[in-house]
């Protein structure tokens, strides 16, 4: 059979994909362990590894009082590292999707005004003192993610479901509008506003297993997006050709926008606004694995997770005991890298 070598090529491609993802997964695990080991108390890599494995295997240490190390690992550093990983994963996936559906290399998870919507929500809570009133740590995350999603709907409404460009412009307009409102509210809120600044610069002040549980939502949402990977490939061809190849473009675009915005909003509500990950990671991966979303999405997810874990490690330790907002580090490292990409000519 002459076509025997074609499926062969295809099995090869699949094998290549799987091995690449395995490497990325191993790198992510390594990043997590490294991140946990570095801190005011240095813990060796093997200690970190075995403590976590022991915990995973469910041995409750037989009632022995947990060592300080174990407490630091399990209760402090592991949730923070996982949170960073989940945030990196979610933002990279959302960035990949937005760059695809807008066919614009400058799109990031915040193009539809998610970030400023969430920021406005958070500052509204602080200005009105709702968080004091209800006295729950969940108030700001909840309120800001609701605002974020409302913002996306508002942008969609303004753009009238029109072209990519209309959506982008509507997103920009709504974004700057809410940013201004947020500044006014934070100004009026006085010293109480300082609590929100940490959040705006992006970081992981809210760490704890309860937040990790919320952030875990990113995994099923990313998997949901992954199901549409092939449709996203075809969307790259533009509206007309995608339609002619049987993709319901408007519906796909709308669904992808909603899922990615929810994905982003969940992360924003916990970690604040972390820039550049969602913009740069997809570009990096596109250069390495190509534009096929079946490999691009999982690669971006894993690479984004590792990168944000490492950035957070830098943020926690470089000016110890001061913890720099993680968003500052990603921007600091991401911006020069982005300039490099631009210089090289982004595909």
């Amino acid at each position: 059979m002459p076509q025997a070598n074609e499926p062969d090529r295809y099995t090869k491609r699949l094998a290549k994909w799987i091995s690449f993802l395995t490497i990325l997964s191993l790198f992510l695990i390594f990043s997590l362990i490294l991140a946990i080991s570095i801190g005011p108390i240095q813990i060796s890599l093997s200690d970190v590894f075995f403590t976590i494995v022991k915990k995973l295997l469910g041995s409750q240490a037989g009632g022995n009082p947990e060592s300080i190390k174990e407490t630091v690992i399990i209760e402090l550093r592991l949730p923070r590292a996982l949170l960073a990983a989940l945030a990196g994963l979610a933002l990279s996936v959302a960035g990949t999707v937005f760059q695809c559906i807008f066919r614009n290399p400058l799109a990031d998870p915040y193009v539809l005004g998610v970030a400023s919507g969430a920021g406005f929500g958070a500052s509204l809570v602080i200005f009105l003192g709702i968080d004091l009133l209800l006295g729950s740590i969940y108030v700001i995350p909840l309120f800001s993610s609701i605002m974020a999603i409302l913002t996306v709907f508002l942008v969609h409404l303004i753009a009238g479901g029109g072209t990519e460009l209309r959506l982008l412009l509507a997103g920009m307009a709504v974004s700057s509008f809410f940013s201004s409102l947020m500044s006014i509210l934070l100004d009026l809120a006085g010293p109480r506003a300082h609590g929100v600044f940490d959040w705006i610069f992006g970081g992981f002040p809210l760490t704890g297993w309860e937040y990790v549980n919320v952030a875990l939502l990113a995994v099923p949402l990313s998997l949901l997006i992954f199901i549409f990977a092939r449709d996203l490939n075809i969307l790259l061809l533009g509206y007309e050709q995608a339609k002619q190849l049987g993709v319901e473009v408007e519906r796909l675009r709308k669904h992808m926008m909603i899922v990615s915005s929810v994905l982003t909003a969940v992360i924003i509500s916990i970690c604040g606004i972390i820039g550049f990950v969602g913009l740069v990671v997809p570009h990096m991966m596109r250069i390495i694995v190509g534009s096929d979303h079946r490999i691009l999405l999982p690669s971006s997810a894993l690479a984004g997770a590792s990168i944000l874990v490492l950035c957070d490690t830098v943020a926690r330790n470089v000016l110890r005991p001061v913890v720099i907002p993680t968003g500052v580090i990603t921007a600091l490292l991401g911006a020069p890298f982005f300039v490099y990409l631009l210089h090289k000519g982004v595909r």
């Binding site: 076509q3 074609e6 499926p7 090529r9 295809y10 699949l14 066919r103 290399p105 199901i227 549409f228 092939r230 449709d231 490939n233 075809i234 790259l236 061809l237 533009g238 509206y239 007309e240 050709q241 339609k243 002619q244 190849l245 049987g246 993709v247 319901e248 596109r286 250069i287 190509g290 534009s291 096929d292 079946r294 595909r347």
Partner: protein
Amino acid sequence: MAILKVCNIECYYESTKVLDGISFSINPGDFVGVLGPNGSGKTTLLRALSKVLKPRIGAVFLENSNIYLMKSREVAKNIAVVPQDAAPAGFNLTVLDFVLMGRHPHMSRFKMESEKDFAIAKRAMEMTNTLYLAEKNINELSGGERQRVLIARALTQEPKVLLLDEPTSHLDVNNQLEIMELLKRLCLERKMAVLAVLHDFNIASHYCDSLILLNGGRIVSMGAVDDVLTSENIKKVFQVDVIVKRNPITGSLYVIPALIRRKETDQGFSIHIICGAGTGTGLMKILAEMGFNLTVGVLNAPDTDYETAQLLNIPSVIEAPFSPISEENYRANLEIILRSDAVVISSVPFGYANLKNLEAAREAIKRGIPVIVLDDIPIEQRDFTKGEATEIIRELRDKGAIFVRNEQDLLNAIFTLKKNKDSVKQEVIR
């Protein structure tokens, strides 16, 4: 039964109407060409037929179902589109992956491409001669290669209807013919219905079964190639003078643009030219461009001078192929000559068949119409009448015909005659 039926569709961009009252149907195995100037709605028509631009009025039926009520996926299984060359894509994919995108409407969301999908893509790439490009990046292709890859992708959809937007526009002659042959074969062997927007009349006439001529969003003419591809229709739609002829070898029509336009200036001076065998072609072009009113005759039908006269729209007296000039045509010719201001005789060879043209010239000079003889080849060398023609030429010289050696002298002579005529006219007015 028609596979695709278009019923009275009207399409708009915002409030601008771009298609108006378009109705036609295509059967399996039909090869339909769509012709029309830029902006006539050709590409819009393809959009309307592929569920991209919903007509405000009317409907498009695929085997009795309205495509705008079908799922895009179902439409894409039956109708494939080859877009006008897409510019280099802003993404990073191999040609094979790009072609495999054509399998999308056939594939389940949760599956990867199967062996069958690969086999279909491979066959499409073999047919379009793109298999050797399989591993190349889609951005690295030339215009022609990209065009063929786009066709391969469309064939991978295994459609019943194939719509193409200027599929040969970026190809060299060899590739153009190869693609058109392929499309023709798809019509004949797979009973695929092909509708292609084309810009080349000759390719359209050779390969298509029927044509649709669009202008301003309306169908100007539609039907068999012979009925649509007429010089009147082309003049009406493209504002170009053309000659439509039948290629004696292939039997299909071909269109030649009449590149020489008659100048609008009118010298007010009419000249009758006696020529043949291409000796008058240069004269006709020069004199026509200068704005002289020309007539020609008598000419035999298959002749270079005859074709030039047709091209330039010069009234001519025509004799049947290979026949001597009949008495009837001689009289018709003479009648025209007697209405001219001058007669020019080119250095055409004279035989018994066209000797009557010289007799007409002799008649003209007898009645006072100036005769100019272009004598760059001596008459003795082109006389095949055992001296009869030479005799008449000599007689013309005796009666005052003007003999010139070359075209420049000929033009000088004509302008002198024209000046004389004009001054006579002036005197009459005074």
